[in-house]
């Protein structure tokens, strides 16, 4: 499962393809998902907020390979926060492109005043809706979740998407979500909380 693609589907409306999140928050969530992919490939790990490369073996996915290339190319290790901010700048375009090549989304070009706008629509609305429904069901039933699903649920919590996912769900599922996030392995847990912090700081340093 490509975490970036899954998060992209969770973060967009299945029929209109409109983002559920603001641009800045969506970028941070996708950046967290892309770093999560590298953790799952065992290419990088996160220790006390720093991203370290643990294996140079090329990940099977081209985009993950590119991200790993960016991390390895840096002479000094950067903080997780720096990587989140760096990747958030064009994570949306990168993930959407990958999904387009894989046939998961369709591309639509429309002309607006003065500029061309490209939007991506889920190719299969049912499948797109399933991405969020699956996590929602697990959380509501408080069913056991594997690390990948727990990580996606954690990113949803960090970006505020849990409000959509657990709409009118009551206290239990919300508490279960915190429990699930608490059970993440350390590097994934760090990605979730640093994404959450970056989302909060985006509010505090809004350049109004």
């Amino acid at each position: 499962m490509l975490l970036g693609d899954e998060f992209w589907l969770i973060a967009h409306q299945e029929h209109s393809g409109r983002p559920r999140l603001s641009t800045r928050v969506l970028g941070l969530g996708l950046a967290g998902a892309l770093l999560g992919e590298l953790v799952f490939c065992r290419s990088v790990t996160v220790v006390r907020g720093q991203v370290h490369v643990v294996s140079h073996a090329p990940p099977p996915d081209e985009l993950a390979h590119w991200v790993l290339g960016q991390v390895t190319a840096e002479a000094t290790a950067h903080t997780l926060r720096t990587w989140l901010v760096f990747l958030s700048r064009n994570a949306h375009e990168l993930v959407a492109q990958r999904m387009w090549h894989a046939g998961k989304v369709q591309r639509e070009t429309s002309r607006r005043v003065l500029k061309q706008v490209i939007t991506y629509l889920p190719a299969d609305a049912g499948q797109a809706a399933w991405a969020i429904a699956r996590l929602s069901n697990s959380l509501r039933r408080q069913a056991p979740m594997d690390q990948a699903d727990a990580f996606l649920a954690g990113l949803a919590l960090a970006t505020g998407l849990d409000q959509v996912m657990l709409d009118a769900a009551g206290r239990g599922p919300h508490q279960y979500l915190s429990h699930v996030v608490g059970g993440l392995v350390a590097p994934l847990h760090e990605i979730v909380v640093h994404t959450q912090a970056a989302v909060g700081d985006a509010v505090l340093s809004q350049r109004a």
Binding site: R20, L21, S22, R24, V25, V39, F40, R42, T45, G49, Q70, A73, E74, A75, T76, H78, T82, W83, V85, F86, R89, D146, Q147, A148, G160, L161, Q163, V164, G182, G183, V185, A186, P187, H189, E190, V193, H194, Q196, A197, A198, V199, G200, D201, A202, V203, L204, S205, Q206, R207, A208
Partner: protein
């Protein structure tokens, strides 16, 4: 020509640093931000005229210079410490780290109160100003609270939408405001009362007069908003230079602008007439003066800019208050719901709505009670809020001193001890005078309930906050540990028992 970094460079350029540098803020951007938040025309047309009217003091221009100087010295240690503070835009974060977390909670509650007073106070003056314009253009009069509710609706909408009032729009408005102040002041000085330019209001002798504390509070009021510059320390081009440079430039420019405008007003009508004229015309004073010499069209441009300046100030203070509640919600010092963002817009939704409800209650209360929106809402709100911010700045200055006393490494003696000590002494003196002369700030007799009511309310709120901090220390150690860390409170190093429960990095296998 090859790129200098690619040809024969030993150190490889960092793609990440270069990409992120493009987004970083330079000195001009931060200066614009600080000055927009201070909204100079609101201060000149609103605060300075009413300060002349209510205090009758002749040393207002000097007060701005003096306060500007004290704040510049304060900024030295404040900016130095901001690099070590997780939530660098908020006074209480400094106080938590420098004077202890319970004090931080007390400061946070005082700050919420003070910024709230400043924000809701503006609803009073906008009603008055818009009425003036509506009367000029349509020759009808509407109650002030109708206009106030229109402004309230705009602020409420923008607050929940997290609409960026475009930086360029704010910059253009700011430049226009500064131009209006400069032109109006120049015209005033060119047309002095009695045909001679008087320097009475610049004479240092006046500053020691009775009621000096009053004008110092109002001086501080003019600069409120400058403290938020440190919020950009993580996004500045050069964290060690950009933010301090921007703060000194902004404080210097504001002090010059305010002192000049206040002096020019006194020149135009004569120092002996200024208090009476200001009492008669209130916030209309500078526009009436401009109309005499420049015509109605120019005066009307001034009125419109005053209106936009007020709206900008309202939005700025609404956001400051909402963000305070948001950080406290994230830390769980206040209910966690306040730390929620809107899914679609990323705005601090609940915090913003709470602030909106408070605004509605205040406008309704003043409208129903028939209180004076200009003096009793705008000026009293501003004066009480200004006192609160002054007390916070004073405590923050002491916190900077306390913080660097324990962690002196990495800062020069000037930045960590000399400047913060000097600033703290000066601020304590200013705060003492402000409390001593608070009746004069409000323009009431010494028996008026607000004379001691406002300082007592701050004391009570601070004590309650400290108490809540102590309760948290006992009952919620996790929350207590993250006080003052704002949005970063989630990344705190996990407490001991959480570490024990958390699987070791290698324990559960990640699936292929």
């Amino acid at each position: 020509m090859p790129h200098p970094r690619t040809a024969g460079s030993v150190v490889k350029a960092s793609a990440v640093s270069e990409a992120l540098a493009a987004d970083r803020l330079g000195v001009p951007a931060v200066v614009f931000f600080v000055m927009s938040a201070a909204t100079p025309l609101t201060v000149v047309a609103g605060v300075i005229t009413l300060a002349y009217a209510i205090t009758g003091s002749l040393s207002l221009p000097l007060a701005f210079v003096l306060v500007g100087a004290v704040l510049a010295v304060f900024a030295v240690g404040y900016v130095a410490m901001s690099r070590h503070v997780a939530n660098a835009g908020a006074f209480y974060a400094y106080i938590s780290q420098g004077l202890g977390r319970p004090a931080g909670v007390g400061a946070a509650w005082v700050a919420l109160t003070a910024y709230n007073l400043l924000q809701v106070g503006l609803y009073g003056v906008i009603g008055f100003v818009a009425n003036e314009l509506i009367a000029i253009w349509f020759a009808v009069s509407v109650p002030w609270w109708v206009v106030a509710f229109v402004a309230w609706a705009i602020v409420a909408g923008l607050g929940v939408q997290q609409v960026d009032v475009n930086g360029r729009v704010l910059a253009v408005l700011l430049c226009a405001e500064v131009a209006v102040i400069a032109v109006f002041s120049a015209v005033s000085v060119a047309n002095p009362d009695g045909d001679s330019v008087s320097f009475t209001t610049l004479a240092p002798g006046n500053i020691v007069a009775e009621g000096v504390g009053a004008i110092l509070v109002l001086g501080v009021l003019g600069f409120v908003g400058f403290e938020a510059a440190t919020v950009f320390s993580e996004e500045a081009k050069n964290p060690r230079r950009t933010v301090p440079a921007a703060m000194y430039v902004a404080v210097g420019l504001l002090a010059t602008l305010y002192a000049t405008a206040a002096w020019a007003m006194s020149v135009a009508v004569g120092p002996e007439n200024i208090a009476a004229m200001a009492r008669e015309m209130e916030v209309a004073l500078i526009f009436v003066l401009a109309e005499q010499h420049l015509g109605a069209a120019v005066a009307n441009i001034g009125w419109v800019l005053f209106l936009t300046s007020l709206l900008a100030a309202m939005i700025a203070f609404h956001n400051i208050t909402a963000r305070y509640m948001f950080s406290l919600g994230r830390e769980r010092v206040l209910p966690a719901a306040l730390g929620r963002t809107s899914v679609r817009t990323g705005a601090p939704k609940i915090a913003s709505l709470v602030q909106t409800v408070i605004g509605a209650l205040v406008i309704t209360g003043y409208a129903v009670g028939g209180f004076d929106p200009l003096v009793q809402l705008f000026f009293w709100g501003g004066a009480a809020g200004g006192l609160g911010v002054l007390l916070l700045i004073t405590a923050t200055s002491a916190a900077v001193l306390g913080y660097f006393a324990r962690r002196p490494s990495g800062e020069t003696l000037w930045r960590r001890a000399v400047a913060p000590s000097a600033a703290t002494v000066a601020l304590v003196a200013v705060a003492y005078l402000a409390l001593l002369h608070f009746a004069a700030v409000l323009g009431v007799g010494s028996g008026h309930p607000l004379r001691w009511g406002v300082p007592a309310a701050y004391l009570l709120i601070a004590v309650a906050g400290v108490g809540w901090g102590l309760v948290l220390r006992r009952s919620e150690p996790g929350v207590y540990a993250s006080i003052g860390r704002g949005a970063k409170s989630v990344t705190r190093p996990p407490a001991a028992e959480q570490v024990a429960n958390r699987p070791a990095p290698s324990a559960p296998e990640l699936p292929r």
